[in-house]
């Protein structure tokens, strides 16, 4: 790597050639504010707040647009820089509503944070503020199906404009009018229609763009913990963070409150799609299965595991002893690697070395309508682990890029050859695709036993004889292999509800009740077995994977807005605590003010 060395505030800083002064400062833990700059977007140089002094240059320079050069001497604290920066912040605030207590961004707002740290102590502005669509909540206007816009809060950083142009590929957002009257707008006020619209909330450094899903549902300080995890709603495997909201004292456990993207240059960059961001409500939804259920004469009855297991054993044994080839499994490709591995052990234990032939892996595909120029494509395969299943030896037809191959199973079920069908469906609802053929077989009595291990009381589960409560992807530590063949770790953010268990554990219990002692006590044991069984593969280190634990969101708030999280991830350091501490007035930042983080 070619490097250059420059001096920033008296410190020698060495960075990769081609980096900007702003980047170098952030990397060195030197706090420089910025708004129009975003690492995932082109440089704009328009907000002017990242201004610094560079020796031998007549004017102050914007650090976001100045490339580092050897021997450059930069000051972020010279008196003229401090003044200039404060003046830009004053300008940004003259027309800002300054009603942070009722703004959804309050508490995680770079405008708030930088204004406290670098801004003037008071505003000298005494004219009425600029108002676009109305005062107060009247300013909140529709901005498409997923978003709301408040132009009064907008600081015209144009990050949203550039996101749509450069990342989405369809420049739906523009600026109308000019100068003082400039406002963010879409054609004929149609709003933003995009599969990746939620990122606009992240890139917006103020409370101007909010998601309908999250706005006013929580406050940053009510979200005590955040867990780094992976989205499993398609085969891309975006790296994400699951935000947890504290429940009131009288309630147990916390609540999943939002998903935000986490920087991973190899997978998702800074972004995630709206499916992954907004489709999490089913996890803690109404139809969630929390206890095992058995079919009685008058329908499904909630029971304990101890009641469910003997009944399940008896019925499977009965079906299997009559005709072992009449016992089949249908696993969603949403099933994690650990569970697929235990399932493999189970079927091989029950049916012998060719046990995997009794399992059909299924998933759905849908073409996502995205602009041709998009730089963030959402794959068609709506399941996270097709490649994981393939690596374990499951028969998956054309694999990740093709349709699942369930023709044999369909034929056999229709022909009445199947006596027991065991379905694994860790959600979300619908991810098995068409199940009408199973329902039909149940109705006309050709499928005598249906076991459904699931998270939601789906139509299929409602038709089952035995329902076993499994866990959704945010409820377990587990591995998934994405479309690129990358083995990624999903970390547990919340516990499975009620008596629900992680799917490997459900399967281990089922195996045990059928007389197969697999010996797994924890999911780590399964990964150890995977590592041992698959040396010289990407799974060889499965037992060494470190899963993320909830991190106090306090740390995150220093990174302001979720989209600023990139700094934590690849620079390890971030701003010192902002409130009440001003870097430029205190000389060197306080010891301990930085919270070092490990790279992920």
């Amino acid at each position: 790597m070619e490097t250059v060395t420059l001096t920033i505030d008296g410190r020698a800083v060495t960075v990769q050639k081609g980096k900007t002064v702003l980047h170098a400062a952030i990397e060195a833990g030197i706090s420089v504010p910025y708004y129009c700059y975003h690492p995932g977007l082109g440089v704009d140089g328009s907000c002017r707040v990242c201004i610094v002094r560079i020796e031998k240059m007549p004017k102050l320079q914007t650090s976001c647009s100045t490339t580092c050069a050897d021997g450059m001497v930069v000051s972020t604290r010279a008196a003229d820089v401090v003044d200039a920066r404060a003046s830009v912040l004053e300008f940004l605030l003259v027309n800002h509503p300054l009603d942070c207590p009722v703004c959804d961004k309050g508490g995680e707002c770079p405008l708030q944070d930088f204004a406290y740290t670098f801004g003037p102590n008071e505003s000298r502005m005494d004219f009425p503020r600029r108002v676009f669509d109305g005062e107060g909540v009247k300013a909140d206007v529709d901005f498409g199906p997923t978003l709301m816009l408040n132009r009064n809060r907008c600081i015209l950083c144009t990050r949203c404009v550039r996101f749509m142009k450069e990342v989405d590929g369809d420049a739906q957002i523009g600026i109308v009018d000019r100068g003082y009257g400039s406002e963010i707008a879409t054609f004929q006020e149609e709003g933003v229609h995009s599969l990746i619209s939620g990122n606009l909330m992240d890139v917006c450094p103020v409370g101007a763009i909010t998601t309908r899903d999250y706005r006013f549902k929580s406050r940053p300080w009510d979200n005590p913990a955040v867990v780094d995890t992976i989205c499993t709603l398609c085969s891309k495997g975006c790296n994400t963070s699951a935000w947890l909201k504290a429940k009131p004292e009288w309630a147990k456990a916390s609540q999943l409150i939002r998903m935000t993207p986490r920087f991973n240059p190899a997978v998702n960059g800074y972004w995630m799609c709206d499916i992954g961001r907004f489709n999490y409500h089913w996890i803690e939804g109404e139809t969630r299965v929390r206890r095992p259920m058995l079919r009685r004469a008058d329908g499904l009855e909630k029971v304990s595991w101890h009641e469910a297991e003997p009944r399940l054993r008896d019925r499977i044994q009965a079906a299997g002893s009559a005709d072992p080839s009449g016992v089949r499994f249908l696993a969603s490709a949403h099933t994690d690697t650990e569970s697929l591995f235990v399932l493999k052990q189970l079927v091989e234990g029950l049916l012998g070395p060719d046990g995997l032939s009794a399992v059909t892996v299924t998933w759905t595909r849908s073409e996502k309508r995205q602009p041709p120029g998009t730089t963030f494509t959402v794959p068609s395969t709506n399941a996270p682990n097709v490649n994981g299943a393939r690596d374990l030896g499951y028969r998956i037809g054309r694999g990740n890029d093709g349709q699942p191959d369930d023709a044999d199973l369909r034929g056999d079920v229709a022909a009445g050859k199947i006596h027991a069908l065991y379905v694994i469906d860790p959600g979300p609802d619908g991810s098995l695709g068409d199940v009408s053929w199973i329902l039909e077989a149940r109705l006309n009595g050709t499928l005598p036993l249906l076991v459904v291990q699931t998270v939601a009381l789906s139509e299929l589960a409602a038709a089952a004889d035995v329902v076993l409560p499994g866990a959704a992807y945010v409820e377990k530590d587990a591995l998934y292999t994405n479309e690129q063949g990358l083995v990624q770790a999903v970390s547990q953010a919340i516990a499975p509800p009620g008596e629900a268990l992680e799917d490997w554990e459900v399967l281990t219990r089922v195996a045990k009740s059928l007389g197969l002692a697999l010996g797994h006590q924890q999911s780590r044991d399964v990964r150890r077995a995977i590592a041992a069984a698959m040396p010289d593969t990407p799974y060889a280190d499965a037992d060494k994977v470190a899963f993320a634990r909830p991190v106090s969101a306090r740390n995150w708030l220093q990174a302001s807005n979720p989209s600023e999280r990139w700094k934590w991830d690849f620079m390890f350091l971030d701003l010192p605590p902002v409130k009440g501490h001003s870097v430029q007035t205190e000389g060197t930042p306080m010891e301990g003010a930085f919270i070092p983080l490990k790279p992920v």
């Binding site: 140089g45 328009s46 907000c47 002017r48 201004i51 647009s65 300008f91 027309n95 009018d177 100068g179």
Partner: protein, 438 residues
């Protein structure tokens, strides 16, 4: 020795704009014919030797600018002629294009030849509708006569000239905003570097040259660089157009050498002919509305780039706005900030927010509702814009406030003290200054 006009000598004649007149009186297209017998680099060297400085405002040497145009590239290169002329008090390019269009067309062609371009775009101000019509008609004539198009004068050199009309924005005259606008985008400036000479129109090497600048090129090629340098002071050679406006007897465009002093331009009979009857000179803005004021004491300064700068202002677009003692300086600043507030492109924070703030403060003080602290605030806000914006517009917007405060602070204080405008000229009411106020 009386100065012999070069650029506008014939413009008053009815047919001045025609190709016939151009061929007859101005040795039309002889410069181009001659240029094509030299190498492109020779032409650049000749323009460099002439010391021609850009007439658009900054006074940057044109030969150097052409030399900077990236040579080593497979990309096409372009001349973008800046005909946006929107600086208040500036109306010289207008005359050239309307009355002497072939001079510009010839200048464009020679410019293209020099930098290795095949296409010149004349980016013309949105309001110059009729000028565009004239230009386009005359460009057609030039094509028909073989001065544009393929294989000009059998030299193998091809050149096309197009006129592109803007939507009417002052900021579109900033060179990178002009390029954006030419590309069909909002007229907002780009970050520099890269400069247009490296990555301009469609990211290709581009020379942005003012109309008057390009009009000087044919005579330089025809008459030689020494002729050009000989016309003016050192480093300020050649003919120059001055737009004299304000409280003078004969406002207008005057061609003179840059030896000519501000006083001559205001008072001489051949120029503006003196102040309006009964009026007394108070101040002059010598370079369009964006530059600092000069006073009586400066009037003997030659109107050259360097001399005006030495006197504390800038020659800018050579729009000499002459102000008499009926002009209230607070009102003047307010009037100009009304313009800058309206024309700010809004891309960068200090200009977008600061311009409006200044305007509101000026309105308040002018109405007599201001306080002492508003005067300090005006100074503070203007200083906070100065030097901190993305393009030079910010400095232009801050300057009227800073220069009037520096030279006429007492007038601001009088407004505050007396709670009214202390110099309420009666002619002001007749001017619909706020015709398009928001």
């Amino acid at each position: 020795m009386a100065y012999e006009p070069v650029l506008v000598k014939h413009v008053a004649e009815p047919n001045a704009y025609t190709l016939d007149s151009y061929l007859k009186h101005q040795r039309g297209y002889e410069g181009l014919r001659k240029a094509l017998t030299f190498t492109p680099n020779d032409i650049i060297e000749q323009v460099k030797a002439s010391g021609l400085r850009g007439r658009g405002g900054a006074g940057f040497p044109t030969g150097l600018k052409w030399q900077f145009v990236l040579k080593d590239t497979p990309k096409p290169k372009y001349i973008a002629c800046n005909a946006d002329e929107s600086e208040p008090g500036t109306f010289k390019d207008h005359v050239l294009m309307e009355r002497n269009p072939h001079l510009l067309i010839e200048g464009c062609a020679i410019g293209c030849y020099a930098i290795g371009a095949k296409v010149a775009y004349i980016y013309i101000r949105g309001e110059f509708y009729h000028v565009q019509e004239i230009l386009e008609a005359e460009i057609e004539k030039a094509y028909a006569a073989g001065y544009l198009g393929k294989n000009i004068f059998g030299s193998g050199f091809n050149c096309d000239v197009y006129v592109h009309r803007g939507a009417g924005a002052y900021e579109a005259g900033e060179e990178t905003a002009l390029i954006e606008s030419l590309e069909g985008k909002r007229a907002q400036p780009r970050l520099k570097p890269p400069f247009p000479a490296v990555a301009g129109l469609y990211q290709c090497p581009t020379a942005v040259n003012n109309v008057e600048t390009l009009c000087n090129v044919p005579p330089i090629v025809l008459n030689g660089p020494e002729w050009f340098t000989g016309l003016g002071p050192d480093k300020n050679g050649g003919p120059k157009l001055f737009c004299v406006s304000g409280h003078v007897k004969r406002p207008g465009v005057y061609e003179a050498s840059m030896h000519t002093t501000l006083r001559q331009l205001i008072y001489d009979e051949q120029y503006a002919g003196g102040m309006l009857d009964g009026r007394t000179f108070k101040a002059i803005i010598p370079g369009g509305s964006s530059v600092p004021l000069l006073l009586e004491a400066h009037l003997d300064t030659p109107a050259s780039f360097d001399d005006i700068q030495k006197a504390g202002s800038l020659l800018g677009s050579a729009g000499l706005i002459v102000l008499d003692d009926s002009v209230c300086m607070v009102w003047l600043a307010m009037n100009l900030l009304h313009f800058y507030r309206h024309e700010s492109c809004g891309k960068c924070t200090p200009c977008r927010e600061g311009g409006d703030w200044l305007y509101k403060l000026l309105q308040r003080v002018e109405r007599g509702e201001g306080q002492e602290k508003d005067i300090d605030l005006l100074f503070g806000v203007a200083n906070n814009i100065l030097g901190k914006t993305l393009c030079a517009f910010g400095d232009a917007a801050a300057t009227p406030v800073l220069t009037t405060l520096k030279l006429f602070r007492a007038e601001y204080e009088a407004h505050v003290r007396e709670g009214r405008c202390t110099i309420p000229a009666e002619w002001r009411a007749k001017q619909p200054v706020f015709a398009h106020a928001h």
